[in-house]
């Protein structure tokens, strides 16, 4: 069954204007916007981080009233920070904080999917930032959460893994019916993979639509101050 996420009047003081939106299962939604436009704040508000106002319903259930043991099956959040200094074993990090029902075999499958088997028994604090990123992404992918919120999942990944990850997220959305919201800076990746694009500016959703419509209209020029050219994106003089 496809997930249904309904957010009403979500706001974080000084960071996110009151925002209402629906996210549909089976749809990969990308969130773009300049630095400080409120992408992370919107993810935080949906994940109930930092005491936001407003309500979120995931398949009709408000995660704010769910205990930690049940909240993990509703939503899973990938933070933008990959800074983990505690000397934990990589395999254990992937299983950290997951709902009780997630079997060890799922963790192993996810490690294999992201080619992390050879790193699985190493200490997290001794891995590169890119390897840690893949581990933290594996943790999110190992859950059954109906809503996945990923803050810059492609940051620190090499080009091959950026594409592999986005391919996998697209497949996951199609096959599992989960709702996925990805904050991302790379407009080309957003164009290639997003089913739906949200453009943020000054703490509010400025535009909401298909990537093909929004990336070719005037939104990108106005919000980012860049324009498309034959060589790619370039600043507007």
């Amino acid at each position: 069954m496809s997930a249904r996420v309904n957010a009403q009047d979500l706001a974080l003081a000084g960071r996110l204007e009151p925002t209402s939106l629906d996210l549909r299962g089976g749809e990969l939604t990308c969130l773009v916007g300049p630095n400080g436009s409120g992408k992370t704040s919107l993810l935080h508000a949906l994940a109930r981080i930092g005491a936001p106002s407003g309500t979120v319903l995931i398949d009709g259930v408000n995660p704010a009233y769910e205990p930690p043991a049940r909240r993990g099956s509703l939503l899973c959040y990938l933070a933008a920070s990959r800074d983990i200094s505690w000397p934990l074993i990589a395999r254990d990090l992937v299983g950290l904080g997951l709902p009780d029902g997630v079997p060890q075999s799922r963790i192993e499958e996810t490690l294999t999917l992201l080619a992390l088997q050879t790193l699985a028994d190493r200490r997290v604090d001794r891995l590169s930032t890119g390897e840690r990123s893949r581990l933290l992404i594996a943790r999110v992918l190992a859950t059954d959460a109906r809503l996945l919120l990923l803050d810059e999942p492609t940051a620190n990944l090499d080009p091959l893994w950026q594409l592999r990850l986005m391919d996998h997220l697209r497949d996951l959305v199609r096959t599992s019916g989960r709702a996925v919201l990805v904050a991302i800076h790379d407009l080309d990746i957003a164009r290639r993979y997003a089913d739906r694009l949200l453009i943020m500016e000054s703490g509010r959703v400025e535009a909401d639509g298909s990537p093909s419509a929004l990336l070719t209209g005037g939104h990108i020029e106005r919000v980012f101050g860049i324009t498309a050219s034959a060589e790619g994106w370039r600043p507007i003089p």
Partner: protein, 321 residues
């Protein structure tokens, strides 16, 4: 893990039995002459001492593991965060300034002192400080509490305050009663069990505060629980037995080897290891070949300080790899 826990429990039982029986030749000779007196010595003198070693050690181990998990810093512990010194200060003020020397009043003073020290540390260093900042803030908090303790003793109405407090401040399990052991056991057990209930959210703190919040845990409340429960357990034990260092630092390091490095899951194993370490240290205080018993805090510091130096060197070596 079960094998480790069973081995630890076995070692604790052995240390407890040794604490009751040693020195055996004295007890045996006494038993042959006067069985009732020998029984009184075991029940009235050695049993409270053995019980308090386990209670205090377990509290220091569990509190150390929880504080290390909360600060995400393996060098955090009740003594290095200043909470032991703060507890000693609180108890000294209660007993020598306000003249409230009952166990309950001293325990309340110690808990308030430990809370104040941990609060000051959080204020100075922040919840996720760099190791250097953290150690400096802990050092400053400990130094301040130590200086204020000396000042309080100097200002105390009793001219014998320094002498009275000296042995207690160095940490001692000698001449405690079963009543004092029972008095410390209840809050210590409550603190350890409630800290163990926080092991799961404390484990997830490895992933960062944002992820912990997204899982539905209240970060502020989590910190408050760790601070209050540690202060309760350590404060009551300090009020009864004085300040004992390094057990809260050492026990969690070994405990994490049993639980694959999980900071929160290490709380209960750290309690067992702390109990064993302090019982062993207390046996050592009686076994020193100098004809008299050494202060417990001296033994734990003599063993713990080199371990602390090794830990710092090991962390530096790990970072350079």
């Amino acid at each position: 893990m079960r094998i480790w826990v069973a081995a630890l429990l076995g070692a604790i039982v052995a240390a407890f039995a040794a604490s009751l029986a040693l020195p055996w030749d004295v007890l045996h000779a006494l038993w042959l002459r006067d069985g009732a007196l020998a029984r009184d010595i075991v029940v009235e003198l050695r049993l409270p001492r053995a019980l308090l070693a386990l209670i205090y050690g377990a509290t220091l181990g569990a509190s150390g593991a929880a504080i290390q998990a909360m600060f995400a810093n393996p060098l955090a512990s009740p003594d290095l965060t200043g909470s032991t010194s703060g507890a000693a200060l609180g108890a000294v003020i209660a007993a020598y300034i306000f003249g409230l020397a009952s166990p309950f009043a001293m325990a309340v003073g110690a808990v308030v002192g430990a809370l104040a020290a941990l609060g000051l540390l959080l204020l100075l260093a922040g919840p996720r400080a760099e190791t250097a900042t953290f150690l400096l803030a802990g050092l400053a908090t400990s130094a301040l509490a130590g200086a204020l303790t000396t000042l309080a003793l100097a200002l105390a109405p009793s001219p014998f305050a320094f002498y009275d407090a000296y042995q207690w401040l160095m940490g001692s399990l000698v001449d405690r009663s079963l009543g004092q052991a029972a008095f410390a056991a209840v809050p210590a057990a409550i603190a350890i069990l409630l800290l163990a209930r926080l092991s799961r959210p404390l484990d997830t703190l490895v992933l960062g505060e944002e992820v912990v919040q997204s899982l539905g845990h209240n970060i502020g409340r989590l910190r408050l629980w760790v601070v209050c429960l540690s202060a309760l357990g350590v404060g009551v034990c300090v009020a009864v037995c004085g300040a004992v260092g390094f057990i809260g630092l050492v026990a969690p390091v070994f405990a994490r080897r049993i639980v694959r490095g999980h900071p929160g899951r290490a709380i209960l194993p750290a309690a067992l290891i702390g109990a064993l370490l302090l019982a062993a240290a207390d046996l050592l205080t009686r076994s020193a070949p100098i004809g008299r018993s050494l202060p417990l805090g001296v033994i734990t510091a003599l063993l713990g300080a080199p371990f602390f130096l090794w830990l710092v060197a090991h962390m530096r070596w790990s970072l350079s790899r």
